[in-house]
């Protein structure tokens, strides 16, 4: 199963994202961004497992600000 990583600068945004993504049936874990890029500074990552097809759309619809995302 694909894992999706979404980066947030704020823990509040990460937690709101977790709540909304979980309501849509995915599992979400929040952790600190332990591989930050130079310009990330400190920040958080949500690790999403499940059907992640609609996740970016959900974040956009709910106006939750994220700083990047990727899959593994």
């Amino acid at each position: 199963m694909n894992k999706m990583y979404i980066k947030f600068s704020s823990v509040t945004h990460a937690m709101r994202a977790k709540e909304i993504i979980e309501l849509n049936g995915c599992k979400v874990i929040i952790r600190k961004n332990n591989k930050p890029l130079k310009n990330d500074g400190c920040g958080y990552v949500t690790v999403v497992t499940g059907n992640t097809n609609n996740v970016v759309n959900l974040l956009n619809i709910n106006n939750i600000k994220y700083t990047g995302y990727g899959y593994q």
Binding site: S10, N39, G41, C42, K65
Partner: protein, 380 residues
């Protein structure tokens, strides 16, 4: 002690708040929004939960727009100084607390802006007329209290919000005396910025205030610093709530407030408000029965709404003297000017102040009877 100074801060706190703060101290001892270990994330989660409860409590659309401050004064300073522009003008009511007056007066003395004071009348349309007369092309906001912290009277803030928006002005509400007592729907009332303390009617610990933003309000910062986010960038983050929450928050206070909000939801705050007004009306009836008392708050008036606050004096005595006498008899009330010089000037009590009585959910009728018996002696 019989505690009737809940307008200053509520006491006692519900047991669940005390337990919540203890739990915060023992279980959520890490800093929030910074580190990655389990306790730090759990602490952040507790802060987020409180943010959500506040959003639900006041019907705020976006949880990010709930900003934790250390008190209402700080929230009001952040609101006023966050929107001020050089040469602009604010309009405030004649019931405002120094938390509004002093920041504006300081800005005025520094030549940055000016402010006008509009009189609150018993009739809403007259109040609106007074505020409307003050509006000019430099006006950027109307600031109004939810209720006088001295006399309890509630200005028509819903109508004032409509007036502000009719002229494209911002509407800032100081809801310190009402939050947790009189329900408020920020959307329905169309408030742009709401400020309140967490330790009064909301029954939380001291050291927590709320700054709530609505309608896409953008505030400049007055405090910058570490937020645990974007640390490489020297500019302050632009996103709420981080933009306005620099430095470690009062985690114990916020978790305590979280429990207090749950408690208030369970108690149904309408009932609490009714009970507090009932007790004060009972007290007012006693004061009315003896002409040695001067009553400034008339809860029996039909066209004025009141928060559960009553101010009075004993003829021939300063308010501080009466408050000290009551203190000696185990009763906690506040005398003096209550940091609201305008309101006292309006009621012509700026020379002697008033004795303010403010009950809470925990006040019983027998407490009021005890106060009445004590007052009988001083009023002889």
């Amino acid at each position: 002690m019989i505690y009737l100074d809940n307008s200053a801060t509520s006491y006692p706190k519900p047991q669940c708040v005390i337990d919540g703060v203890f739990q915060a101290m023992t279980k959520y001892g890490a800093n929030s929004g910074r580190s990655m270990y389990k306790m730090a994330l759990e602490t952040s989660e507790q802060i987020y939960k409180c943010r959500k409860k506040v959003a639900n409590f006041f019907n705020v659309n976006n949880v990010e727009n709930i900003v934790f401050t250390y008190n209402c004064t700080m929230a009001l300073n952040m609101a006023i100084k966050g929107i001020v522009k050089e040469g602009c003008n604010f309009i405030i009511s004649d019931l405002e607390h120094n938390a509004v007056l002093r920041p504006l007066e300081t800005l005025k003395q520094n030549g940055i802006c000016d402010y006008k004071i509009a009189k609150v009348e018993k009739e809403t349309y007259e109040t609106l007329k007074n505020f409307e007369k003050c509006i000019d092309k430099k006006t950027i906001a109307i600031i109004c209290t939810g209720a006088s912290n001295v006399f309890g009277n509630i200005p028509p803030y819903r109508a004032l919000s409509m007036l502000a928006h009719k002229y494209n002005l911002m509407f800032i509400l100081d809801y310190s005396q009402c939050a947790g007592i009189i329900p408020l729907d920020i959307n329905e009332c169309n408030v742009d910025i709401m400020c309140c303390s967490g330790h009064k009617g909301l029954m939380g610990p001291t050291g927590v205030g709320l700054l709530i933003l609505n309608n896409n309000v953008e505030l400049k910062t007055i405090i910058e610093g570490g937020t645990g986010t974007n640390s490489i960038i020297l500019s302050q983050p632009t996103e709420y709530p981080d933009k306005l929450e620099s430095g470690t928050p009062n985690i114990l206070g916020i978790i305590g407030l979280s429990y207090a909000l749950e408690y208030l939801q369970e108690q149904k705050i309408y009932k609490t408000y009714k009970n507090e007004l009932f007790l004060l009306k009972y007290f007012q009836k006693y004061l009315m029965s003896d002409n040695k008392f001067i009553i400034y708050t008339n809860l029996f008036e039909n066209n004025v709404r009141y928060a559960p606050i009553l101010s009075f004096n004993v003829k021939g005595k300063r308010s501080e003297e009466v408050a000290a006498y009551l203190s000696d008899n185990g009763i906690a009330v506040r005398g003096g000017l209550h940091c609201a010089p305008l309101a006292h000037k309006k009621f012509k009590t700026d020379d002697i102040g008033t004795v303010r009585v403010s009950p809470s959910f925990f006040t019983k009728k027998s407490d009021i009877d005890f106060v009445i018996n004590s007052l009988r002696k001083i009023a002889k």
